[in-house]
Symmetry: C2
Subunit: 97 residues, 2 copies
Amino acid sequence: MATQLGDKIRELRTKQNLLLRQVASKLDVDTSIISKMERGERPIKKEQIAILADILKADKEVLYTLWLADQVMDVIKDEPLADEALKSVSKKIKKRK
Amino acid sequence: MATQLGDKIRELRTKQNLLLRQVASKLDVDTSIISKMERGERPIKKEQIAILADILKADKEVLYTLWLADQVMDVIKDEPLADEALKSVSKKIKKRK
DNA sequence: ATTGTCTTGACAAATATTGGCAAATATAAC
DNA sequence: GTTATATTTGCCAATATTTGTCAAGACAAT
């Protein structure tokens, strides 16, 4: 249930002594949403990542990669054939520009 | 838009001279649905894969891996950071039993 | 017991997904 | 050409999922 991006955000936020409320207002959502996002209970929107990176002074690409990895993980978790499928996908995307 | 699994199914079906209608009745859906599934216009349900493998005398695991790869591809297509994210996921799933 | 922070669950509204139908189009045989 | 059959396409309503909001609960610190 936990996500890599959620964990990272919570880590960054607490290290900087920011409250959920403060992040919430910048993201323009209820605090409960941030709480859930950090714990992987609600999905984080793609467009919110850049804003989060700003607030938390983090690298956008790093956060974005975590987000993407979470999306993929969501698809392949509990799938016995995940490894083979991932290999096939990797091969395929290397052929694109 | 096209999918690996859809392409494979069409290939198998036509090679065996089966009509959409015949596959449709076994899957218990309208022929238009199969048509769309083969062309990647409608998602194929996980539970339908085993049935399709039976009808088309194909290996379940092969079809299932194609399906999974399609799911992953759907997430990472058009994503510049896909490669990095995939690597991270691969690492992570190798650590599980 | 009051205050401040975070979490949880429930709810309706908005959004997305679904399968089926019927019309349109293609394909093949004659 | 015409007919017969196969496939595709667009649209619809039913269903399912996702969404944000809210109120109430838990937990600490004082």
